[in-house]
Symmetry: C2
C-alpha cells in the first residue's frame, strides 16, 4: 500500500476523551475510530491487524477440528427463557429491541443457546459426536462502563467455539487440545511470555474454568503468580498454577498443592475455556442415543477469545513513548518502506523495491509521501510496523538499504538480498 | 473436508415454515439455519459459499481502489438527527435499543452518516481526494415481512462502498468504474446472462440511480426489458436501457430515446449504485479546501451489494428439482469426491485421490461415508458442487474416475490426469 493513497492520517494530539493507552495510540495512529463510548470502528490499518489475529485463531481452531459457521445477533426471547438467561436480573448486559410486530428480541452476548438448539438438527446418535463448531461473530454487551479502549466494548467480534462430546472423558480430551491451541495463539500473537494459564471460578457451570491472563497494568483482573514463575508466561504452567483472585484462597491453594510466595499482578483476561457440562443440553433437549440406545444429554464446553481485546492488549504491553510496536505475526504490514527526499533516482529505486517486495509476497506499507524525514519517522514509529527499510540519497550512494527493527534502536545498512532474508 | 466429519446433515423434508425456494433448498442441504423469521445463521457449507462471494466482491472493490474498513452496528441518535434520518416516520426499518444509562441508540441499516463524520478526520484538502472506503458489515433492518429466505432478512452482511470526490466530474469517472466492477462481480458469480443494469429512481439523492437486477420469479421488483435483449444480460447495456417499473414512463422512455417492445419481468435487485452528491457532506460538514483555498463540500456516492442475497438468487435461478447447482466460482467446494461401496481397495484409491487433490490446492468435499449409492448421489445433487468424481469397484476396474457436472446429465470415465485438467 502506498501511504500517499492510504486515506487515514495520523494525528499528533492524544484524544482527550480516552484514558486507555490502547485507544489513545490506536486512534493517533489511525487504526481505529471512536463511534461512541465503548464502540469503535476499525480503520484499514486496524482491520489488517485484527484480521491477522483472526487468521491465527482460525488456523488453530481448524487445527483441532473446529468447523466454522456464523450465528446471528438477533435472538429469540423464548429460547433464552428456557435456560433462564433472558431476564435482565440474571443477565445484566443484554441489549434488547423489538420487531415491528412488537416481539421482543435480544442481541446475542454469547451463543450457547442458539447453537445448542441448532445442533438438535444434526446430533442424534453417538456416531455424530464429538463435534466442534466455532465462529467469528459480533457480540453485543451493554457494559455500564467502557473505559478500556478496545479491550472492553459494547460491540465486538468474538471467536467462540463450542464442543459437543459424549461424556466428560471425551470432553476433557478435547479441553486439553483446546488449551494447547490457545497457548499457540498467544505465543504466535507475541504474548507468550506475559500470558499465564490461570485457574478461575467455573461460575455456575463447573468448579473451575481456565483463563488466559496477560500481565498488564491496564488489566481489570488480579492474578496470583508464584514469584519464581514471573516472566515465564505460558512456558511455566507445568510448574505452578496461577490463580485468579476469585479463587485465591488457602483452601484452593491446599487443594492444588501450591506453596511458595505468590505475587499479585494486574492482568487482562485474553481467553477462557469452560466446561459447560449438560446445563444447556438438558435445558434445551440436546440428547443423543448411546450405543445401548439410551437418550443421553450431550456434554458441552465453550472456548472464547476476543480478537480486538487481544489487539488492545498487544497495543498496551508492547508500545513505547513513540507509538505502537507490533509483533511480527499481527502487524498490519511486514515492512514499512520509507523513501526520504525527492531525488528521482531514490524514488525510482524505492518504487522498484516496493514492486519487488510485493512480487515476493511481502506485505509493505510504502511511505512515498513528500514529507520531511522527521515527520515520516514519527509516523513510522507511531504505526509500529516491525521492520523499517529506509531508502535515501545516503543509502543509494552505497547501494544499500537502511534496516531498523521497531523494537530496537540501532540501524544497519544491508544489501537488498540480505534485507530480504531477515523477513523470513 | 471428509463428509463423515462435516457436522451438518441434509434433510429430506422441505421445511414447512418456508415459502421461498432458496431457503427451502439451503436448509435441506445444510447451508443455513433459520433462527427466526428473516434471521438465518450460516452453517459451514453456507459460510464457504458466502465467503467465496465476499472474496469476489473484495477483489473487485480493491481493484478500483477501495480501502476496506469496518464500521459499527451501534449508532448515535444525534448523528442521524443531523441528516433527518433518525425519526421512525422518515426511516421505517430502524432497530433501536438503549444503553444502560437510557441513551437511545440505533442499529445501522446503512452507513453514510458515520462514515461521512469519520472522514472529517481524514479529508481536509483537495489533495486528500478522491478516496473510496468499503466494508463487509452487518446491517439490521426491521422488515415487516421477511418471506424471501436469505434474499431479504432482518440481519445481513452488506458490502457498502462510499466514494468521496472533489466534484461531480471526478465522481462520475469513479461511478463508471464502479459500474464495471459490479458487472465483473455478477459475471464471476455466474449471473451475467440473467442480470441487467437498470435505470431506477434516484430517490431523494438524484434523478436516477443504477440497479443491477437479476431476472427471477422470486423477485420483488418489476423491470422492463426490450424483447430483443432478453437473455443477453450484462452484455446488452450498450443496446437498450432496462427500466425499473418506478421509472417506466413514456416521459423517461422519450428522454432515454427508447423504442421497441418492452417486456415486464420479475427481478431481484442484486446491487445498486447511487450518486449522493453533497446531501451528507453538507449536513455533516465534510468539506475540503480546494486549490483556491475555498471550503467545498465533498461529492459522494454509495455502492451496495448484499452477498447473502446474491447467494439466495443463485440458489433460486440455478437449482433444479434435485437441489442446488452452484456456479464454479461460488461453490463451497470445487469437487465432490464420492466413494461407493466398502471395498478397501476403492477406499484406498479414494483416500489417495482426496489427499492428492488437496495437495494440488483443489478444495474437495469427500463423501467417505458408508451409505448406499442412492443416498450419496441424492446428497451430492442436493448440495450442488459443480463437479462430481465417483470412485467405485467399476471405475477402479478400468483405473478411471467417473466424472459428472452437476448441471449436465451425462457422465464420463476419465483418467485421473484428464479429470484434474477439467478443474482448471
Amino acid at each position: 500500500m502506498r501511504q500517499s493513497k492510504l486515506f487515514t492520517k495520523t494525528r499528533k494530539e492524544t484524544p482527550v476523551d480516552e484514558i486507555s493507552k490502547n485507544a489513545q495510540l490506536l486512534i493517533k495512529a489511525g487504526f481505529i475510530y471512536k463511534e461512541m463510548s465503548g464502540v469503535y470502528a476499525m480503520l484499514p490499518l486496524g482491520l489488517l491487524t485484527l484480521n491477522k489475529i483472526i487468521n491465527i485463531i482460525r488456523e488453530e481452531m481448524n487445527g483441532i477440528g473446529g468447523q466454522e459457521l456464523s450465528l446471528t445477533a438477533l435472538q429469540e426471547k423464548e429460547l433464552w427463557e428456557k435456560t433462564n438467561r433472558w431476564d435482565d436480573a440474571v443477565v445484566d448486559n443484554w441489549f434488547k429491541t423489538k420487531l415491528k410486530n412488537d416481539t421482543e428480541v435480544g442481541l446475542g452476548f454469547t451463543h450457547e443457546e442458539p447453537l445448542t438448539r441448532l445442533m438438535k438438527d444434526h446430533i442424534s446418535s453417538y456416531r455424530d459426536l464429538p463435534l466442534y463448531a466455532y465462529q467469528f461473530q459480533t457480540k453485543f454487551r451493554n457494559e455500564i462502563r467502557a473505559k478500556s479502549g478496545i479491550m472492553r466494548t459494547r460491540e465486538f467480534i468474538m471467536k467462540d467455539l463450542y464442543s459437543f462430546s459424549k461424556d466428560e472423558k471425551e470432553h476433557m480430551e478435547f479441553y486439553e487440545k483446546a488449551k494447547q491451541a490457545y497457548k499457540n495463539i498467544f505465543v504466535r500473537a507475541g504474548l507468550g511470555d506475559l500470558t499465564y494459564l490461570t485457574f478461575a471460578s467455573g461460575g455456575v457451570f463447573s468448579k473451575y474454568s481456565h483463563e488466559f491472563q496477560t500481565i498488564s497494568d491496564s488489566g481489570e483482573d488480579i492474578v496470583y503468580i508464584n514469584k519464581d514463575d514471573l516472566g515465564a508466561g505460558l512456558n511455566m504452567d507445568s510448574r505452578h498454577a496461577v490463580l485468579n483472585k476469585e479463587v485465591y484462597t488457602e483452601e484452593v491453594k491446599k487443594e492444588l498443592n501450591l506453596s511458595g510466595d505468590f505475587e499479585e499482578n494486574k492482568a487482562v483476561e485474553v481467553g477462557n475455556i469452560f466446561t459447560l457440562g449438560t446445563r444447556f443440553s438438558e435445558a434445551l433437549g440436546l440428547t443423543y442415543k448411546d450405543e445401548d440406545g439410551k437418550e443421553v444429554p450431550v456434554f458441552m464446553g465453550s472456548y472464547g477469545i476476543g480478537p480486538a481485546r487481544l489487539m488492545g492488549v498487544i497495543a498496551e504491553v508492547f508500545s513505547d513513548d513513540k507509538g505502537l510496536v507490533w509483533p511480527r505475526e499481527v502487524a498490519p504490514y511486514e515492512v514499512h518502506l520509507v523513501k526520504l527526499g525527492v531525488n528521482p533516482e531514490v524514488s525510482d529505486f524505492a518504487d522498484r523495491l516496493y514492486e519487488d517486495l510485493k512480487s515476493k509476497g511481502v506485505s509493505v506499507l510504502y511511505d512515498d509521501r513528500d514529507l520531511r524525514p522527521g515527520e515520516k519517522f514519527a509516523d513510522s514509529d507511531l504505526i509500529g510496523i516491525p521492520v523499517r527499510f529506509v531508502v535515501s540519497d545516503k543509502t543509494l550512494a552505497v547501494e544499500k538499504i537502511e534496516v531498523k527493527y521497531r523494537n530496537k534502536t540501532d540501524t544497519e545498512l544491508m544489501l537488498e538480498a540480505d534485507a530480504l532474508k531477515i523477513l523470513n
